[in-house]
């Protein structure tokens, strides 16, 4: 884990003091809302439907137990006892009072956290693989590079007032768990034929109203060139990106309009200019950062308790089969804790649950936790012999749900229950789908199936890259839900295809049930996933199930 040095601490302390004074000036009337709004957004404070919302950065989704305990403290002391983990690995508090926010930020600073650049037209919180540092399939831990980018982008003077926001993700594994291809810029740590590691750089991905898959702008970038190259990309876009239309301002549109070759040429020209200004301090810093991310000394020992529990306890076995992933040490496992109990709000954790997870991380998990973009919490390193005891405690606190990767492991944005931009609700749709498939006792049979729900076209709920995507819209004053099928959030990324006309609020769950029923009927065998079946048969059978009336008319 990265630990703040004196500079970091002083920077955050000063920023918090500035914001405290700005809040005071807003409350005493010396700042208008128009003057205050950009200041609060720079510090992660939004005004939503029912209250303010504070978005706290969890850099690349990585935190320790002290930080998780502080997140619990904020939930309890200044909010309504819970927090909402987001698709950008952050946490949001839905009910803070304006006058309390400076105290919340000071509490966060004590454990090296803040809310800077979680909003506004800046480079946002850098995201990464939530299995970073633990996955069996990774080349190296991607977090030092993510931390380097975080430090470089924080308060970067050239990039504080851009045409639009800019999101960067970093990955280093064979499997993409960080939705790299849906980011403005993605850094993938790779190895070339000569055995050297470097970076593959993608640009122009993004979801929202114009979804685009990221394109490779540089196939192999030498390690020392990373920051000047990223700076060149952001700089080129900051110059030529469109500022006349907010909806065409993201780099995906710039890449689309100019073409990737033109952008590459401009980036190369810019790079030639600024590369000499990077004289190696960044590489020294990276070397220093790496010392913070040395893997823990993994304990050894037998795993008999795990084997016994796995054989004897079917509840433990079901959880182990869905919620554990392969660790690079065979006697350890990566544990994904589902914060998506059937019928509960996806991504919400109570203060008590946060403390339980913090305690488990301290006791069994080398003091490390991760937040996933899929809105779950991960303990990246747990010795297998500790899993039965850990599972027993998780169950006691509503954290033992065995549904990772299954139909009830739904991504949902806050939607119109909280968000001022939303056009329809997302949370209750997720709750109802999860409840329904739990009643049907089908989800383990259905297997891997990702449903992602967004409450507006901005696509915070990643619906475009869902196997079954749901987009909530306002159609003539009524909530209406569009379905897309066949999206993919991994390295084989794909934008889902629209199935047809939307469904009313009370029709959307039965519609999902018809899609899943069709899949179960036509899959080749139980091992063929929903996505594989969709890719084999296409939209037609699902369309027939969704719109039987239309078929009748044609006939």
């Amino acid at each position: 884990m990265y630990k703040y040095n004196d500079f970091d601490t002083a920077f955050v302390t000063e920023r918090n003091a500035q914001f405290r004074a700005q809040v005071e000036r807003r409350i005493d009337g010396s700042l208008t809302e128009d003057e205050f709004k950009p200041l609060r957004l720079m510090n992660g404070l939004y005004l939503q439907l029912h209250a303010y919302m504070l978005r706290v950065a969890v850099p690349y989704g990585s935190l320790n137990s002290a930080q998780m305990n502080t997140l619990a403290l904020l939930a309890e002391k200044w909010d309504k006892g819970y927090g909402h983990f987001t698709t950008r690995q952050n946490i949001q508090y839905n009910w803070p009072k304006l006058s309390d926010v400076p105290d919340m930020l000071d509490a966060l600073a004590e454990v090296g956290m803040h809310a800077i650049q979680t909003s506004g037209n800046t480079i946002r919180n850098v995201t990464s693989d939530h299995f970073a540092g633990a996955a069996a399939d990774e080349l190296e831990d991607p977090r030092p590079v993510a931390e380097l980018i975080r430090q470089w982008s924080t308060d970067h003077p050239e990039f504080q007032f851009m045409g639009r926001k800019f999101k960067i993700a970093v990955g280093a594994a064979t499997k993409d768990r960080a939705v790299l291809k849906a980011h403005d810029l993605a850094v993938r740590i790779v190895k070339n034929d000569a055995g050297e590691t470097g970076y593959q750089i993608l640009v122009g991905g993004g979801l929202g109203r114009t979804p685009m898959i990221g394109k490779v702008i540089n196939d192999f970038l030498p390690r020392a060139d990373l920051l000047p190259y990223i700076e060149s990309v952001v700089s080129v876009w900051n110059q030529i990106g469109r500022r006349d239309n907010k909806y065409k301002a993201r780099i995906k549109i710039t890449v689309h309009e100019h073409g990737i070759d033109d952008i590459r040429a401009r980036v190369d020209a810019r790079f030639a200019l600024i590369r000499p200004t990077f004289t190696g301090a960044d590489q020294d810093l990276l070397a220093e950062i790496k010392t913070h991310f040395v893997a823990p000394i993994f304990r050894s020992g037998g795993i008999e308790t795990y084997d016994v529990a796995y054989k004897a306890d079917p509840v433990f076995r079901a959880w182990a089969d869905t919620n554990l992933a392969e660790h690079r040490h065979a006697d350890h496992a990566i544990v994904t804790i589902s914060i998506k109990k059937h019928g509960a709000t996806p991504g919400d954790a109570s203060a008590e649950q946060m403390r339980v997870m913090a305690d488990l991380a301290a006791k069994f998990g080398y003091d490390e936790l991760r937040i996933s973009h899929e809105q779950n919490v991960i303990l990246p390193h747990v010795h297998k012999s500790d899993l039965p005891a850990m599972h027993a405690q998780l169950k006691e606190h509503g954290l033992g749900t065995a549904n990772i990767g299954l139909i009830s492991d739904i991504i949902a944005c806050p939607g119109m229950d909280y968000c001022a931009l939303a056009t329809a609700r997302a949370i209750p749709v997720a709750e109802q789908i999860a409840t329904r498939f739990d009643e049907l006792k089908l989800e383990h049979d259905i297997g891997n199936l990702q449903i992602k729900i967004s409450g507006c076209i901005n696509a915070c709920g990643h619906h475009h890259v869902a196997h079954i995507g749901i987009l909530g819209l306002d159609r003539a004053g009524v909530e209406n839900y569009q379905i897309t099928l066949g999206g993919d959030a991994t390295w084989s990324a794909a934008i889902g295809e629209r199935a047809g006309p939307g469904f009313a609020y009370d029709e959307i769950v039965p519609a999902v049930e018809r899609i899943v029923g069709t899949y179960l009927e036509i899959r080749d065998n139980a091992d063929e996933t929903f996505l594989e079946t969709f890719r084999r048969v296409g939209m037609a059978p699902f369309k027939a199930a969704l719109y039987p009336e239309a078929i009748k008319k044609v006939a």
């Binding site: 807003r26 409350i27 005493d28 009337g29 208008t32 809302e33 005004l47 939503q48 439907l49 029912h50 209250a51 303010y52 309504k80 839905n94 009910w95 803070p96 009072k97 304006l98 006058s99 709000t345 119109m416 229950d417 909280y418 609700r425 949370i427 209750p428 709750e431 306002d474 004053g477 009524v478 909530e479």
Partner: protein, 102 residues
């Protein structure tokens, strides 16, 4: 021809709490939509909105929201305003929580 003016209420968020408030006919801010002034005249609506927007140290983002007359005062005509006057649907938080505590 200009569209006919439909009845409105003036709504905003409170500066400190951020919660939803409505302008009453005696120039107070109420947490309840039913206590709001239902404005049926367009010119009057614009004047009231100017007055409301000027209260920069009390309210944020005042606007005119469509509403209709009901037996107990104004009621929303769009689901967004229905959620604003009630609170989220996943927890009994916000206004529904305040009501439960009365």
């Amino acid at each position: 021809m200009a569209r006919a003016f439909t009845p409105k209420v003036i709504t905003a968020n409170a500066l400190l709490e951020g919660d939803v408030i409505y302008l009453t006919d005696d120039d107070q801010w109420s947490r309840e939509l039913s206590k709001a002034e239902l404005i049926t005249d367009e010119a009057h609506a614009q004047l009231r909105l100017l007055d409301a927007s000027a209260q920069v140290s009390e309210v944020v983002g005042a606007y005119l929201a469509d509403a209709k007359a009901g037996p107990n005062g104004p009621e929303p005509t769009h689901f967004r305003e229905e959620f604003r006057r009630t609170g989220p649907s996943n927890y009994a938080h916000g206004k529904q929580e305040a009501e439960a505590n009365v």
